[in-house]
């Protein structure tokens, strides 16, 4: 048992480190290192331009989408090499946030279901950041019940007599839709069969006529998510991924990747809290010396550490060529709730002034308030705490699924509260 690289891994790490050292935008390092939670990264320069520049540089040197095959713009690297890259890229990886969905979910799905020609057309620009992708799955009526989606796709003829689909409906929680060139879209093509059976997956040009994007303002004032409306949007049948009615199976490819990418290396806010406690005074002296503070810190320290080493165990599995399973759901489950508690406690430590949300007055405050306002989203996005507990109970512990009243019921006969 050790944390050491194998000789191959060490050599790879050295190569990565050297390249990053020579090429990373060092002028942004400080800003990226302190960028608050959900604060949207750099402000000194146009974040999108900075992201695209860094991604392009990586792509040209063969450091984009390391785990993808070379011919599609990747490097054909092993999963562990991808992890090493991430460790070395460090704060600069924040620049790639805008590409995560495309690289982590859309790309793999295209690779599994698109035609060879489509892969050669779409994957390289996705890898290099020249084209941005988004994922159009969630719907207002869907939520945790993802398969409850209603966006309709109906067959039609194109002007030139080809096969088209006409899309009508609404998606929600679409990250980065406003920047996206392409989107991965799941639709309902048959409402008369049980809900998982009537779904079909497509990809489309986000600039197609009839696509309307509206940002969703979140509690923390950010608008990373969008609503996307579809009105008689045309998609050629050639852009269908998988069989008609096979959309659910296709989506699982995508979602498995989502939970993994979201679940790994989640922040709990503990290092920030520990740092605060080492600087701030309570009635009992330095906070970190206050026994009341210590007993709380200890539990959080163990969660932070437990997540870290659970992650290391997953990496070790990767390094052995195994695929980490649903047990990784614990990352987000533990991190989300922990951060919410830590943020509230950090404000408490600053007494009355804990309410102030002005970085000029207290940078720490602003940071923990950002956590307080961001963590509720963490506990919901990509699977609520409750869904994650179900996943652990069912897929890890083998307990029965919830009683399904909508099982085998034709979709259009399932009771609903209507779109919101």
């Amino acid at each position: 048992m050790n944390f050491d690289d194998t000789p191959e891994e060490a050599a790879f790490r050295a190569e990565v480190r050297a390249w990053i050292d020579a090429n990373a935008p060092k002028e942004l390092h400080a800003e990226l290192a302190t960028a608050g939670f959900g604060s949207g990264g750099v402000k000194s320069v146009d974040p999108m331009a900075a992201s695209k520049a860094w991604q392009k540089k990586k792509a040209e040197a063969g450091w984009a989408c390391l785990h993808w095959p070379k011919e599609y713009g990747g490097r054909g690297a092993s999963p562990i090499e991808r992890v090493i890259w991430g460790q070395e890229e460090g704060v600069y990886s924040a620049l790639s946030g805008v590409f995560i969905i495309g690289h982590g979910m859309c790309g793999p799905t295209m690779m599994a279901y698109a035609s060879e020609a489509q892969k050669r057309r779409h994957l390289p620009p996705l890898a290099s950041g020249e084209e941005i992708w988004c994922q159009l799955f969630s719907e207002p009526a869907g939520g945790s019940d993802l398969a409850g989606l209603r966006t309709k796709a109906e067959r039609a003829k194109s002007e030139d007599g080809g096969d088209d689909w006409v899309i009508n409906g609404q998606k929600i929680w679409t990250s980065g839709a406003q920047h996206s060139d392409w989107g991965l879209l799941i639709t309902r093509t048959d409402p008369t069969v049980p809900k998982h059976k009537g779904l079909t997956m497509f990809f489309l040009d986000m600039r197609s006529p009839g696509v309307e994007i509206r940002p969703i303002k979140q509690v923390n004032g950010q608008s990373g998510f969008n609503e996307v409306y579809f009105t008689d949007v045309r998609i050629p049948d050639a852009q269908r991924l998988g069989a008609v009615g096979g959309g659910w199976g296709v989506s699982l490819t995508t979602l498995m990747n989502e939970r993994l990418s979201i679940g790994s290396g989640m922040s709990t806010g503990f290092p920030e809290l520990f740092d605060l406690c080492s600087r701030i005074e309570t009635a009992n002296g330095l906070a970190v010396d206050d026994p009341a503070v210590r007993s709380k810190l200890a539990t959080w320290a163990c969660r932070q550490s437990g997540l870290k080493y659970t992650g290391f165990r997953a990496i070790s599995a990767l390094s052995r060529g195994e695929t980490p399973g649903p047990e990784n759901s614990i990352g987000k489950l533990v991190a989300g709730a922990t951060m919410q508690d830590i943020a509230a406690f950090a404000l408490d430590l600053q007494a009355e002034a804990g309410i102030i949300n002005d970085p000029e007055i207290s940078a720490a405050n602003a940071r923990f308030q950002a956590m307080l306002l961001r963590s509720p989203a963490t506990r919901v996005e990509g699977g609520t705490d409750e869904i994650l507990r179900n996943i652990i109970a069912e897929r890890v512990l083998g307990l029965p699924a919830d009683i399904r009243v909508d099982k085998d019921v034709p979709f259009n006969q399932i009771p609903t509260s209507g779109a919101r």
Partner: protein, 375 residues
């Protein structure tokens, strides 16, 4: 045993609720949150007309001359609608400071204006990050003028006068602290609004440079008066928090009943049912502890300090718990700006700190329990 509000008191609560549901819908809170104005002037005027700004103030000073039980009932309703007005600053603090320590002249000067809403008062203790103690306070009064900075001060940008805890004598013990009334329209006062976790309630930084300051209560008594008034305010605030907890629980319950997933209301899933049951439990414990505080406050019982800390800790935990899980029950919608969940989440975190943090009150509670057991 009659550990319940009287029918008259409940009737007052019903009136207050009817009034506030009409005059203080969520969009009124949002208007302030989104910066249209620092507080809801219309609502404030209405509260004054209803007499709610002077519920527990003797009629001689322009109040209703009702008691603290009546004020608790009104406070709960204010908390239910998270009213965007300086109620806590003006009624729970400024008014109580005057009633507890004010000279006859000071009461005559300010109480009628506070009851009529003509004047807004507030209180200033904190001086930036960290707990404010007799040792840490820097703001000082010399020769009748105050110099120093107070941050944050609730409603400091809209109040007409502020009661300030400041150093009146050197040394680090509490006898060096006294209270002063400062006219915020007077000389030597600078106010700057500061952003907080809950923009639906305005806060400011007050900077005093040789500002005329009038002693309130005996010199050197500041800290002990403050502690008495904070106990009263803690109980009144607890009712605000209890009202907020109940409303957050209702919002979650209603959404759980209406929102369908997997072909059934999400409120039929045990995960959601039990989350709501646990919210009900903490809201109920907080309410019962609030009643204990209300009883102590209205009777001036010896248990007041202990009851105040109990009510405060219990209500703070309940409101934070209910407002947090209200968001969780609402799922993705819960953290959108458009839904009202965050208004309650913000307010619960504001109220958790505005009279000193939870950890301080936990400590007070045990000191006081211990003192009583020792006695």
């Amino acid at each position: 045993m009659n550990f319940e509000f009287s029918d008259e008191q409940k009737q007052l609560g019903t009136e207050a609720r009817r009034f506030l549901e009409a005059k203080c819908p969520p969009k009124a809170v949002r208007a302030v949150l989104e910066g249209a104005q620092p507080f809801d002037r219309e609502l404030w005027k209405g509260l004054a007309e209803m007499g709610f700004l002077g519920v527990a103030v003797p009629e001689a000073y322009g109040g209703l001359g009702a008691g603290y039980l009546e004020l608790c009932v009104v406070a709960e309703e204010m908390g239910r609608v998270i009213a965007p007005v300086p109620f806590s600053s003006s009624v729970f603090l400024a008014t109580e400071f005057l009633l507890v320590a004010g000279s006859e002249a000071q009461k005559q000067a300010w109480l009628p204006k506070l009851c009529s809403g003509e004047a807004i008062g507030t209180f200033a203790l904190a001086e930036g990050v960290g707990a404010a103690t007799p040792r840490t306070l820097k703001a000082a009064v010399n020769g009748g003028t105050l110099t120093g900075t107070k941050l944050p001060v609730a409603d400091g940008d809209i109040a007409d006068f502020v009661i300030v805890a400041a150093r009146s004598a050197p040394g680090s013990d509490e006898r060096g602290i006294s209270l002063y009334i400062v006219d915020l329209h007077g000389a030597g006062v600078t106010r700057e609004p500061v952003a907080t976790i809950d923009p639906s309630r305005s806060h400011a930084r007050l900077t005093f440079q040789d500002a005329p300051a009038e002693l309130l209560g005996a010199a050197g008594e500041g800290w002990s008066i403050l502690s008495q008034v904070y106990d009263r305010a803690a109980i009144l605030t607890a009712f605000e928090q209890v009202g907020g907890s109940d409303r957050a629980l209702e919002m979650a319950r209603d959404y759980a009943l209406e929102r369908m997933a997997f072909g059934r209301p999400i409120g039929s899933f045990q995960a959601v049912k039990h989350m709501l049951a646990d919210m009900y439990v903490s809201a109920t414990l907080a309410r019962s502890n609030g009643y204990y505080g209300a009883w102590a406050l209205s009777t001036g019982a010896a248990e007041l300090p202990e009851a105040a800390a109990t009510a405060r800790v219990s209500a703070t935990q309940a409101f934070q718990h209910c407002s947090k899980n209200n968001i969780q029950v609402h799922g993705g919608m819960g953290f959108t700006w458009a839904f009202d969940c965050h208004l309650y989440y913000r307010r619960s975190n504001l109220l958790a700190l505005n009279l000193g943090p939870l950890s301080q009150w936990e400590d007070k509670l045990i000191s006081r329990l211990r003192a009583r057991n020792a006695a």
